[in-house]
């Protein structure tokens, strides 16, 4: 009886485990092994075409930190990240807050603000490059009303990265807006009413009721947009490529070029790990400052 029971129990465990096998195989082949292999490759000099490789230890990492182009890429990436994360979240929150203040056109506005998110970066890229056109673009035309001279948005090294960031904010604000909007609406109305009765103005309400209560949402949006922004490539690629004087050359550009143009697989892998550490550092900082025993949902 007991042995039979035990055997059927084992069989049951095996059947239960078997449900996870398809995923675990994929997980092993395309994630676990590549992560380990990626680290091993980063310790070698491997040009891929020749197929020969030699172990060089941490040399690739040392090289990465001495590579001016890579450092420039990291610097540009951080510049872009700061602009889009701060600018984008402020704008998204502003839109979300505004949505809770209007009634009749609320649904219409919400739809409109979400639309840019659906267009793939291929479409938004060509759209904005035409918009930014120096002589025939709509942006310079409208700015001309304010007496501004034609600006070479994508050709001027000082503003080409902000131009990419502006497109990014336009293209992705709808996502965070929906999350902030839902967060503000979840706040019990009694709280707001109590504050109003106590004579709290709109700003006080915003600062001491809404913002603290949606802190988990703020953390979530900041983390998601930081992770997304540090991996910026496509938007810059569509608008400017590496940009004037490499102004839009991001860290991913560097990895892409090193791996698939110069076939320095080991070096590219090392750069990827450095970038990964940067992402981890940024997100853990955010959690440190904004997260207190929050549950990931």
């Amino acid at each position: 009886m007991t042995t039979e029971y035990k055997r059927s129990k084992n069989l049951q465990s095996l059947i239960h485990f078997s449900y996870t096998v398809p995923y675990l195989l994929l997980f092993l082949c395309w994630l676990v092994i590549p992560i380990i292999a990626g680290f091993l490759v980063s310790l070698t000099k491997w040009t891929f075409i020749s197929g020969k490789y030699q172990l060089v230890g941490l040399k690739n990492y040392v090289d990465a930190f001495a590579d001016e182009l890579f450092l420039k890429g990291i610097q540009n990436t951080i510049y872009y990240t700061v602009m889009t994360v701060i600018g984008g979240n402020l704008f998204s929150f502003f839109l979300a807050y505004g949505l809770t203040r209007v009634q009749r056109f609320r649904n219409l506005f919400r739809k409109v603000f979400f639309i840019p998110l659906l267009l793939s970066v291929g479409i938004t890229g060509i759209m904005w490059r035409w918009l930014y056109n120096t002589d025939f673009g709509l942006l310079n035309y409208y700015l001309g009303f304010f007496g501004l001279k034609n600006t070479n948005w994508l050709g001027d090294a000082r503003i080409s990265m902000p131009a990419v960031a502006l497109m990014a904010i336009w293209g992705s604000c709808g996502f965070n807006m929906l999350i902030y909007y839902a967060g503000i609406r979840e706040i019990p109305t009694e709280l707001k009413e109590a504050a109003t009765i106590d004579g709290a103005g709109g700003f006080y309400q915003l600062w001491s009721i809404i913002l603290p209560l949606i802190r988990p949402k703020i953390l979530f949006c900041l983390v998601m947009s930081t992770i997304g922004s540090i991996q910026v490539f496509d938007r810059a690629y569509m608008l400017t490529g590496v940009g004037p004087y490499f102004a839009n050359y991001t860290a991913i550009f560097h990895i892409y070029y090193q791996a698939f143009r110069y076939f320095r697989m080991g070096y590219a892998s090392a750069c990827a790990f450095v970038l990964a550490l940067l992402i981890l550092a940024f997100t853990s900082l955010l959690f440190r400052f904004l997260g207190k025993h929050e549950e990931y949902y």
Binding site: R104, F113, W170, I227, Y297
Partner: protein, 275 residues
């Protein structure tokens, strides 16, 4: 009361202004796509063109060496297919991790969560080399299969399945339901919101994917829509009207889909943040 009324209309005005500004790039794309080639490059630009030329859209599809329809279908096919696979594989796996028992279950799950922290670029080189060895470069397999390993779906759905009350499951077990019936007839229907969230994110991620398709495809016919448009973006300098027509053609179907599934998409997005 009046103060509140004024307040509301100020916000209406401000948001309305932003709505117009945000739609302007799309409107400008549509207008440019309908202009005759001679009127595209004009200073000052004509917001409302004097002559409309819808034939641009016919011209677009007659351009040699531009398989626009193929690119579009590649992207649609990839989005549908990988969403279907991700949702089915993740849900079955998440079900086992949430509701069934087997040895090392929690340790395995911890490993999966830990892998979620690792950003995608670190696997780039090895995955590319594996695909190269398998001769999968420039195939749909290369575009779909490595992406199925992402742990996010398993994580999201497990969290949701954990919250399904166990009484329902126990009652079903007493009635003689096996694991799979419980999965298909109880857990999955109850988890529809979470499945929708996962589906939307997978589909949007695939539809907007850029870096991966750029690397693993190289023939013109295997390119996805974003990459195809990037190619045109580099080639067409004086055919701005055609470029805009291409962009509008590809954006329009998605817009219609959005209008149809708007509610589910919004619920899906908002369900995904920290609680």
């Amino acid at each position: 009361m009046t103060e509140r009324f004024v307040n509301r209309w100020i916000w209406n005005l401000v948001l309305g202004l932003f709505a117009v500004v945000m739609l302007l790039p799309i409107f400008w794309m549509l207008v440019t796509s309908l202009k005759p080639a001679t009127e595209v490059y004009q200073d000052p630009p004509q917001i409302l063109p004097s002559t409309l030329r819808p034939a641009n859209y016919v011209d677009l599809f007659q351009q040699p060496g531009v398989p626009l329809v193929r690119w579009f279908w590649n992207s649609v096919f990839l989005a549908i297919f990988s969403t279907f696979l991700v949702v089915s594989i993740s849900s079955l796996t998440a079900f086992a991790f949430a509701r069934l028992e087997f040895p090392f279950r929690d340790q395995l799950f911890f490993l999966i969560v830990a892998a979620m922290v690792v950003p995608a670029q670190v696997t780039l080189v090895p995955v590319y080399i594996i695909l190269q060895k398998l001769r999968w470069i420039d195939t749909y397999k290369a575009l779909i299969i490595p992406g199925l390993a992402g742990p996010f779906g398993v994580f999201l759905l497990r969290q949701f399945f954990l919250n399904v009350p166990s009484e329902i499951e126990e009652a079903a077990r007493i009635d003689g339901c096996g694991n799979l019936r419980i999965f298909f007839q109880i857990i999955l229907p109850l988890a529809r919101p979470a499945l929708t969230t996962l589906a939307i994110f997978t589909a949007l991620g695939s539809w907007n994917g850029f870096f991966w398709p750029l690397i693993v495809t190289n023939s013109l016919n295997m390119r996805t829509l974003p990459i195809g448009l990037a190619i045109l973006n580099g080639q067409w300098w004086s055919e701005q009207h055609l470029l805009m027509a291409a962009g509008f053609t590809c954006g329009f179907p998605i817009f219609i889909l959005y209008l149809i599934f708007e509610n589910q998409i919004e619920k899906g997005v908002t369900a995904m943040s920290f609680r």
